[in-house]
C-alpha cells in the first residue's frame, strides 16, 4: 500500500509531467485556450486524484487488469500532465489553494489510515496501512515546513509564467 501510494503513483505522475514537457506548441495553445489560469487542469487532476484515493480503486488496480490499465493511463495523462500544463498558468492564489488542499489531504488521509480499525484495502495488510498513515502525516508536515521556509525567507514567483490566454486557431 505504501509502495503503491507513495512510490508507484507519484512516479506515474512524474512520468506524465515529463511527457507534458514535450507537448507540441500548437496542442499547448489549444489546451491553454480552455485552461484559463490552469483551473480546468486543476479540476481534472483533483478529480483523477480523488478516484485513485478510493480504497476500492486501489484494490481494483491490483485485481482487475482493465483498472490497472486505467490507472497507468489516467495518472500520467490526467494528473501528471494536467498539472504540468496548468501549473505555469496558475496564479499565486490558485497554487496556494492547491498546495494547502494537498497538505490537508495528506494529513487527513494519514490520520484516517492511522485510526481506521479496518483494513480499507482488502489487498494490503493493516500494518502497511498504518505505516502509510505515518508517512503521509510526515510528508504533509514536510511540505508545510518547506513551503513556510520558501515563503518566509526564500524566493517565490508570484506571477504566472504564461500570462496570456492564447486564441485558438492560426497565429
Amino acid at each position: 500500500m505504501t509502495l503503491q501510494m507513495l512510490v508507484q503513483i507519484p512516479l506515474l505522475g512524474v512520468a506524465g509531467w515529463l511527457l507534458a514537457q514535450g507537448t507540441p506548441a500548437r496542442l499547448r495553445r489549444v489546451l491553454a485556450a480552455w485552461n484559463h489560469r490552469g483551473v480546468s487542469g486543476l479540476v481534472l487532476a483533483s478529480l483523477t486524484g480523488l478516484v485513485w484515493m478510493l480504497p476500492r480503486a486501489m484494490d481494483a488496480a491490483v485485481d482487475v487488469p482493465l483498472v490497472t490499465l486505467a490507472k497507468f493511463l489516467s495518472v500520467p495523462l490526467l494528473l501528471g500532465a494536467a498539472i504540468a500544463l496548468s501549473w505555469p498558468r496558475m496564479g499565486f492564489v490558485v497554487r496556494g489553494v492547491f498546495l494547502v488542499e494537498l497538505i490537508a489531504t495528506c494529513f487527513r488521509m494519514g490520520w484516517l489510515y492511522l485510526v481506521s480499525p479496518v483494513r480499507l484495502c482488502s489487498n494490503y495488510l493493516l500494518d502497511d496501512q498504518q505505516r502509510l498513515g505515518k508517512y503521509l502525516v510526515g510528508i504533509g508536515g514536510a511540505v508545510v515546513l518547506i513551503l513556510a521556509w520558501k515563503l518566509m525567507w526564500g524566493r517565490i514567483d508570484t506571477g504566472r509564467t504564461e500570462r496570456k490566454d492564447p486564441p485558438i486557431g492560426p497565429r
Binding site: 491553454a32 480552455w34 485552461n35 479540476v43 476500492r56 484494490d59
Partner: protein
C-alpha cells in the same frame, strides 16, 4: 472567451468526474472493496457453483448437494493463530444456537479452507479444537486447485500472505439461501446477527 471556455470545460470535467466517482462507489455507498461486495451480493445474489468439495472425514460433497437449506459459510485456514481463529469458536456457538434448525435439516454451517496446505486431517483437527458437537457443521476444501480460486472469486474472498506463514483475509459470515445463491455477507465478529438473519428467514 477563455474564461468562458474554461468554465465550460471545468463544469464538464466536474460532471464527468462526479459520474465516475458515483460509478466507482456504487452511488457513493461503497468506498472499500469490502462494502462494495456486500452491496453487490445484496442486490444481485450470486449462484454458488456446484464445485466438488472434500470434507474433514475424507468424503466428497458439493455445494449442489448442500442445496435445499440455508448455509452459513466462512472461509478459514486451519493454521490461523491470530484473531481469525475466533471464527472456529463462533461457528461452534452457531452450532448450539441453531441446533433446532440444524436438526430439522434447514441449516448447515460450512467452513471452507482456502489454504492449499489444509488436508482433511487438518480440517478435522480444526473442528475438534473448537468443540464441534458433531452435527450440522462441515469443514471442507476444494478438491481441484482451480476450484479454490473460483470459490474465492465468487465469494469475494481475498487472502494476503502476512509474512508470518499465515494470511490476512477479509473474514466474514456468508449466507447462501436454499436455492444455492449467495445473498448476504455479514460481519465476521457478530455471529448473533448471523443467527438472527437465518432464524428470521426460516419458514416455521
Amino acid at each position: 472567451m477563455t474564461v468562458l471556455r474554461t468554465l465550460l470545460a471545468s463544469l464538464a470535467i466536474l460532471v464527468a468526474g462526479i459520474a465516475v466517482l458515483a460509478f466507482s462507489t456504487d452511488g457513493f455507498r461503497a468506498y472499500t472493496t469490502e462494502t462494495a461486495r456486500r452491496i453487490d451480493v445484496r442486490t444481485h445474489p450470486r449462484p454458488v457453483p456446484p464445485l466438488v468439495l472434500q470434507a474433514a472425514d475424507g468424503t466428497r460433497t458439493s455445494f449442489a448437494a448442500l442445496r435445499g437449506r440455508w448455509l452459513l459459510v466462512d472461509f478459514i485456514y486451519t493454521r490461523c493463530t491470530t484473531y481469525c481463529s475466533v471464527q472456529g469458536g463462533e461457528f461452534a456457538n452457531l452450532q448450539r444456537w441453531l441446533a433446532g434448525p440444524i436438526a430439522a435439516g434447514k441449516v448447515t454451517l460450512v467452513s471452507v479452507s482456502f489454504d492449499p496446505r489444509d488436508e482433511p486431517a487438518q480440517l478435522a483437527g480444526y473442528q475438534r479444537r473448537f468443540g464441534d458437537s458433531g452435527t450440522g457443521w462441515v469443514a471442507v476444501r476444494a478438491v481441484a486447485s482451480a476450484d479454490r480460486a473460483v470459490l474465492m472469486r465468487v465469494f469475494g474472498v481475498t487472502a494476503v500472505a502476512d509474512g508470518l506463514g499465515g494470511f490476512v483475509h477479509n473474514a466474514a459470515i456468508n449466507v447462501v439461501n436454499p436455492d444455492g445463491k449467495l445473498v448476504a455477507i455479514l460481519d465476521w465478529d457478530d455471529p448473533r446477527a448471523a443467527a438472527r438473519y437465518i432464524t428470521r428467514r426460516l419458514t416455521p
